[in-house]
Symmetry: C2
Subunit: 425 residues, 2 copies
């Protein structure tokens, strides 16, 4: 059973297709792991034990059809689920049940997937942290806002889990927890039933322990087989991209990127330096302006009628939405549009870029860390695949991200798989 929980979703799917294992066996193995570990890690806000077992038994009695047949998914608690509460890590939504599933949750079930539980989010997917710990060291943050999803996948309680990213809420916790994290091109995965924060930034994605696994989930959800990672991936042309935020990377993260580049070149990739255009220097501040303006306005009812139930720091931050000058907001959006069109030239003949996924290891304490290596890519709407790339001086994971052109998710996933395999070797 211990081995079962460590298998990839791809391998589990194969074993189920060959009837070597049942969905029920696999769900029970994961539930046993949750029982063993989640008292410490606290990745789940709700475990759907009975509905998951019922779904597994039903699947075991039928033919193997869907791409996600029998594969369990953890669902960040800002995604609506008709059979489990959705509470967004906030006292405002305590005990809330919704009538329908979020679109990507329903699509997971339609493809044969099983919803195993709801994972802890920071409050409304913003910054006030909740109870999840980093499974590699319980004194450290797992990152956020998709804290529980990243931690549960890292700790073998789930093979797959959903996330969202508005600043750095998918790639950063993936880096801190040492798992694969995928933020697709903006609006690729439908947002229906996923709670809004900043409409121009919010992007649905997810976590797995391998790139083919997360690609399997998205391909299944979208009925988009072109996203599946092929058996054989050619060596990509990689742009080594320190980004304009490089000085915010710790020495160990800087070393991690440089040694990864050397290793990948040795393994056969073309690796060249890519310097982002000077225009991109304004993107970090622009992202902040858009995020602050939009997030505070999104939470109008939370602030208006339930202000005293929100964490005071979130309530206060929402108020700052009205301090952003409209000209600054519109100018920021214009800069985003302009820079998106500059990406192809900036990347030249590279298939993907390779950049830090976070400043370094997960910080000690529960605040979820700095999204500074994620904000610009979120705003640019590019696909990003975070991959574990090393271990830092505190024994915690260091992650890099593979960044692609807008809409070029299939190539980006394939390249990220190639990179991940070479760095893990």
């Amino acid at each position: 059973m211990t081995d079962l929980i460590r298998l990839s979703a791809i391998d589990i799917a194969k074993k189920m297709a060959q009837r070597e294992i049942t969905a029920e066996q696999y769900v029970r193995a994961l539930l046993a792991r949750i029982d063993e570990r989640d008292g410490s890690v606290r990745a789940f806000v709700h475990v759907g034990r009975e509905p998951a077992l019922a779904a597994a038994k039903a699947l075991d009695q039928g033919a193997v059809q869907g791409m996600l047949h029998g594969i369990p998914l953890g669902v960040k608690d800002i995604f609506e689920t008709y059979d489990m509460p959705t509470q967004g890590g906030s006292n405002v939504y305590k005990g809330l049940h919704t009538a329908l599933d979020a679109a990507c949750v329903a699509a997971t079930r339609r493809a044969g997937g099983i919803i195993l539980g709801k994972t802890v989010t920071t409050e409304l997917a913003t910054f006030p942290h909740n109870e999840t710990r980093n499974p590699h060291n319980l004194e450290h943050t797992p990152g956020g806002s998709s804290s529980g999803s990243a931690a549960a996948v890292a700790d073998f309680m789930l093979p797959l889990a959903t996330g969202t990213q508005t600043l750095g809420s998918t790639i950063r916790p993936g880096s801190f927890c040492g798992v694969v994290a995928y933020k697709p091109t903006y609006n690729l995965i439908p947002k229906k039933g996923v709670w809004n924060s900043a409409d121009s930034l919010d992007t649905v994605g997810g976590f797995a322990r391998s790139v083919p696994d997360i690609a399997l989930w998205v391909a299944g959800v979208m009925s988009y087989r072109g996203l599946l990672v092929p058996e054989s991936v050619p060596a990509p042309r990689i742009g080594l991209c320190k980004t304009h935020e490089w000085d915010n990377a710790t020495p160990e993260m800087q070393a991690c990127l440089m040694s990864a580049a050397a290793k990948l070149a040795k393994a056969g990739a073309v690796v060249k330096d890519v310097t982002l255009p000077d225009r991109f220097k304004g993107l970090l501040q622009a992202q902040i302006a858009v995020g602050v303006w939009e997030t505070g306005r999104s939470f109008a009812d939370e602030c208006h009628r339930f202000g005293e139930k929100l964490r005071p720091e979130l309530f206060e931050r929402c108020g700052h939405a009205y301090d952003v000058d409209p000209a600054v907001y519109h100018g920021a959006q214009a800069l985003g549009r302009e820079c998106r069109q500059m990406i192809p030239d900036a990347m030249g003949d590279c298939d993907v870029l390779l950049a830090p996924a976070a400043p370094g290891e997960a910080p000690k304490g529960m605040p979820t860390g700095n999204p500074i290596f994620n904000q610009v890519w979120t705003f640019l709407h590019t696909p990003c695949v975070g991959i574990p790339a090393g271990i830092g001086p505190q024994g915690l994971p260091l992650g890099l991200q593979v960044v692609g052109r807008l809409g070029d998710d299939a190539r980006t996933l394939a390249a990220a798989h190639w990179v991940h395999q070479r760095l893990a070797a």
Copy 2:
């Protein structure tokens, strides 16, 4: 009382500030109009009589503070409201109540606005029509999907109402019903609590009988006073834009645009022809690809678990989402990004463009008409303000739209007001 319901929101706000009328009087006048007319027009799916009167009385007892003090709003039935059902014109959502307000509904209340009721939408803001009639001729469609909002404002049952546009769901019903309709720049008004259809297209907007009125609503909701139309607006520089869809306009719509251009030039505007670049010819098909791909995937749970409750034609249309080739979807998104960057050059020194808002008058029968003059602008994310501009051979309204640059909503609203005043004169 009859006069009261015909006043503008701006004038009502002034009279309330001067305590010439009370919010309760105004709400009662509108309720009387609804009682008189809505049996025929059928714009409302739910009238919040008691909560609206209670809110009005409470406002009358306090100081006049918010920008929308005492002004009632009708809310399209895909916007969540905590005190009224939200059913999206679909049997899937029959009887649904939500815990919170949509962000823009809550912001309306915070600014002193009153929610008077929920207005009829086509099913899930797509194409299967519901019961609303065109108040100018009950045998004709009001347009859709924001059918009830447009019809109620046209028929003096409401001064303001919300809408959304994914294809042509705000500007088209505005044109058919002879009211002002405003589709802001994409993502300007927060989408939280408004049901998704196609994330890359969905835009929240609204209806009024004058441009300053709809600007007042958005300024109040967003706490963005710069959107208010100034007392004095200079004559704008107008680009007469037949668009690449010109052949789909009826002779009377073509004549309406041309005679409006002549009238505006005579009134002091610079009017010049603007031909959109050839690249823009692909935008209509690109918009369709994005809309079909995204909408079908958004309604995953509706189709998966409630397929038999959906109108069969909607269920079938959702299935076509999976027929769109991913390369076509991604290519369409790339064309959209490219053309958005070409708008400033295409507009040259014009402040705004003037284009048809619909092919012509509202068609006879209940299908909601053709959005072909709206789809490209929706996809381009530009602000559009629809204004009544004439009467067609069947005695029904003809509308034009004033289109601005991305983020240039304030100038677009001001120019639209100037145009509307000159055409109404």
